[in-house]
């Protein structure tokens, strides 16, 4: 009811509305229950965060400022003035405490912090004290991260919902308000400017700085057909497309009213993951052979095509990030090494056990990798059983620990936004806790030890030194195979300006000329 009234009020004057086609339809609204990017993007619209990272991945104050005790054990956060939830109630640190506790039960970084937490308490409306049992240098980085689960702040009564149950009320304190009455799951979602929002005074920088809203309304529309979205942009029916397939860009060329560009420099990393539980990839030599057989250039050319939008990169933490290091990736980045792969297979005594390579056919960004990889693996002497399936079947099947012949699997490919793999604390593939690890289930005490060293590192230089060891260890054990980086350009009408170069498409700072 309140939302409808607000829509009515905002319609009284000439509205500035941005109609945007996002990469996916919004269906799940709880940013704690899912790591889906579209849900996270929705959450950045309506919620705010205590800490946010700037363009150099440095944590900056957003809702709160902080001080750290000399021993690194006590973090005291102070809420800035003027923050209100969309229902009119003031934001307090009791809300932040409840939100952080709910978040920490789901987020892997949050779980690590909670393992080291003595207490997390709102001592008054403006103050939150986080006391640790032992120093955890990346605490602020973890709170400020933009993927996979950023810690969004919601009212305590909503944050009291168990973390495995989706919230049903969507009230934040962010720069936009969610218009529930106009929400159609998977079709469209409407946001209106939060007139009560008080932006920070600093200029916007990545996810940090002032979130100044210059439009009245933002409508996210889902268009399942990529050509329709392109035609709608050309016809001035929409203002923005978040991701355009590179092979459709020629359709936009020559129209002076349309601009396409990389939104931010990092883009995505595409990766291959093997199953450590079953032969033949339970043998490190076979994993190494598979990695030696792969050639980033061949896969990226098939996946993206236009070299302007992909780059060869052997760094598991992504090229262009503070921890980037390419140790051990020489074969991947220079055409593969079939002879070395064959030698390793012979050394491992590979007996021709078929490799079940899962190939999703319904996701454009994942269709090419298994096709190219299966041929490369066959060239090296692997017996590859590439099984086409839809992505839903793949995500179900990859959770199966059965033998490949009994509904399990040996290998699949997926993609991550670079910030999602830019640190050992966030990269899912670097979890070495066996059955509790991410799909593939490596049991790797060494990587867990190196992650502990990373947590203990006090300076960026120390972190980089540990990251280099993790890179080398990954390439030796083949926890996963980085297959290179690519970008999906965004496209906009020329009337849309001042979009931020952030991995998350955000709509503050953006202006729309009439």
């Amino acid at each position: 009811m309140a939302s409808t009234a607000l829509v009515g009020a905002s319609a009284a004057w000439a509205e500035t509305t941005i109609t945007a086609v996002m990469h996916s339809g919004l269906r799940v609204l709880d940013p704690v229950i899912t790591t889906a990017h579209i849900t996270r993007n929705h959450a950045y619209m309506i919620y705010d965060v205590l800490v946010a990272v700037d363009g150099t991945f440095t944590p900056q104050p957003q809702m709160a400022d902080w001080t750290v005790s000399d021993d690194g054990l006590v973090y005291t956060f102070t809420l800035r003035d003027g923050l209100k939830f969309h229902d009119g109630s003031p934001v307090t640190m009791a809300d932040a405490e409840a939100s952080l506790k709910r978040w920490a039960t789901k987020d892997s970084g949050g779980q690590i912090i909670m393992d080291k937490t003595a207490s997390l308490t709102a001592t008054d409306d403006k103050t939150l004290v986080w006391t640790l049992n032992e120093p955890f240098a990346p605490l602020l980085d973890t709170l400020g991260k933009q993927s996979a689960l950023p810690p969004f702040i919601m009212p305590a009564r909503i944050a009291a919902t168990p973390a495995d149950t989706a919230i049903t009320e969507h009230v934040g304190s962010g720069p936009f308000r969610f218009v529930e009455a106009e929400f159609q799951p998977g079709v469209s979602v409407t946001y209106i400017k939060n007139e009560d929002y008080v932006p920070r005074s600093e200029p916007a920088d990545n996810m940090a700085g002032g979130k100044v809203v210059n439009v009245d309304k933002v409508v996210w529309s889902t268009m399942p057909d990529a050509s329709t979205a392109i035609n709608a942009l050309l016809g001035n029916e929409i203002d923005y497309i978040e991701s355009v397939q590179v092979d459709l860009l020629p359709l936009l060329e020559g129209d002076p009213d349309v601009v396409y560009e990389k939104r931010e420099p990092l883009g995505y990393q595409t990766i291959g993951r093997m199953n450590f539980k079953h032969p033949p990839f339970d043998n490190v030599k076979v994993r190494q052979a598979a990695m030696k057989a792969l050639d980033q250039q061949a896969i990226l050319a098939a996946l993206v095509g236009n070299p302007d939008y992909y780059s060869i990169c052997g760094a598991i933490f992504g090229c262009g990030t503070p921890l980037a290091d390419a140790t051990g990736s020489e074969s991947l980045t220079s055409g593969g090494d079939l002879e070395a792969a064959k030698a390793l297979l012979a050394e491992a005594g590979y007996d021709g056990t078929p490799i079940v390579l899962m190939a999703p056919t319904d996701v454009v960004a994942l269709a090419a990798q298994p096709v190219v990889a299966s041929q490369a693996l066959r060239n090296a002497g692997f017996n590859v059983d590439m099984q086409p399936m839809d992505w839903q079947t793949l995500v179900t099947r990859r959770a199966s620990q059965n033998a490949p012949a009994d509904g399990g699997w040996n290998m699949f490919f997926t993609n991550w936004l670079v910030p999602e793999i830019s640190s050992p604390l966030v990269s899912p593939m670097l979890n070495g806790r066996g059955d509790s690890a991410w799909f593939g289930w490596p049991d790797d005490a060494v990587v867990e030890g190196l992650k502990a060293d990373f947590i203990a590192a006090k300076t960026l230089e120390e972190q980089q030194a540990v990251a280099k060891k993790i890179q080398a260890h990954n390439m030796e054990q083949v926890l996963y195979v980085p297959v290179g980086q690519y970008a999906l350009p965004q496209a906009r009408r020329a009337t849309i300006t001042d979009m931020l170069a952030s991995p998350v498409p955000v709509f503050w700072n953006v202006k729309k000329a009439e």
């Binding site: 799940v28 229950i33 495995d164 159609q184 057909d225 329709t228 319904d362 995500v395 899912p428 991410w438």
Partner: protein
């Protein structure tokens, strides 16, 4: 007659029950996991398991089936596993675009196809007949998305007369805005049905035009238009009605491509999205509704036979 209609309506119950059982079992036997969609790519196996538990997906199949059937009998189609929205709300939001488009398509198709078919039969083996038949073959053969893109290219991009995409509800935005946005997708869809109905009309009319009573009517000096539309078309109507009726049912259940090309938030897309996400309650509800549509449309067709052909009695 009334007894027949009542028997047909009662027969819907076992049909729907069988459909419900099959749908439920087929979905559960299909690989896929709605919990995986909800949890996202980074979820660990433990997190997935906890979400499955919270959603009740770990309960025995029989328990899940009877829970669903119990709710169904109370008119509750359940709640989407993915968005948490009641399925009735989701279908309510999405069914009217599809019904409105289907109605407009059928109106356009009938308005064009029936005269075309009559004309082709009347001028049998003339260039008119060959032109109609050639168009029919073309209409059948060209995929609907190709026609859609061609229309967009010509009418939206080149001429700029009509919008590329989108839907406007006639009740909210007015009939003019609805037609402005719906005309291209309806024309696209109508191409196939014009071909189908024109062909059926022609064949049916050809059969009737050879009958003795047509010759008699002509011998009596009845005007040719009256012979064609009053005497011939009415007698040829039964198979044409069948095609129109099943065409409408097909439009309700099978317009996902057109909905995608023109970005119409109808139930075709809802069904496909639900299947891709393994959103069981939505898929189950959609298949039940589609089956019910077929049963009801067939019933209406059967009843309408008696209006057009008084010889038919039930």
């Amino acid at each position: 007659m009334l007894g027949y209609i009542l028997r047909r309506i009662l027969a819907i119950i076992p049909v729907m029950l069988i459909v419900a059982i099959f749908v439920f079992l087929l979905l559960r036997l299909t690989p896929g996991d709605p919990a995986a969609i909800i949890a996202g790519d980074m979820a660990t196996p433990e997190q997935l398991e906890r979400i499955r538990e919270a959603m009740g997906l770990n309960k025995p199949l029989l328990t899940q089936f009877f829970t669903w059937m119990g709710s169904l009998l109370q008119g509750d189609l359940g709640t989407s596993l993915i968005s948490g929205t009641p399925v009735t709300t989701m279908i309510g939001q999405r069914i009217f675009p599809t019904i409105n488009m289907a109605l407009l398509t059928i109106v356009i198709a009938v308005a064009i196809a029936v005269p075309m078919g009559v004309l082709a039969a009347w001028r049998h083996r003339s260039w008119v007949d060959y032109a109609v038949m050639s168009f029919s073959v073309l209409g059948f053969s060209v995929p609907v998305f190709v026609i859609g893109y061609l229309f967009i290219l010509v009418f939206s991009i080149s001429l700029g007369w009509l919008p590329v995409q989108g839907y406007a509800s006639p009740s909210e935005k007015g009939i003019a805005e609805f037609l402005y946005r719906a005309i291209l997708p309806s024309l696209t869809l109508a191409t196939i049905y014009v071909a189908l109905i024109a062909r059926m009309t022609r064949a049916s009319m050809l059969e009737v035009l050879g009958e003795d009573y047509i010759r008699t009517a002509r011998a009596k000096g009845v005007k040719e238009s009256r012979v064609l539309f009053r005497h011939a078309l009415r007698n040829a109507a039964v198979p044409i009605l069948t095609v129109i009726g099943t065409g409408f049912a097909l439009l309700i259940s099978g317009v996902v491509v057109t909905e995608s090309v023109f970005n119409i938030p109808g139930i075709g897309r809802l069904t496909v999205d639900a299947i891709l996400a393994r959103d069981y309650p939505v898929i189950q509800a959609m298949i039940l509704i589609t089956s019910a549509t077929y049963v009801v449309v067939n019933l209406i067709i059967d009843i309408s036979y008696t209006v057009f052909d008084p010889r038919i009695r039930y």
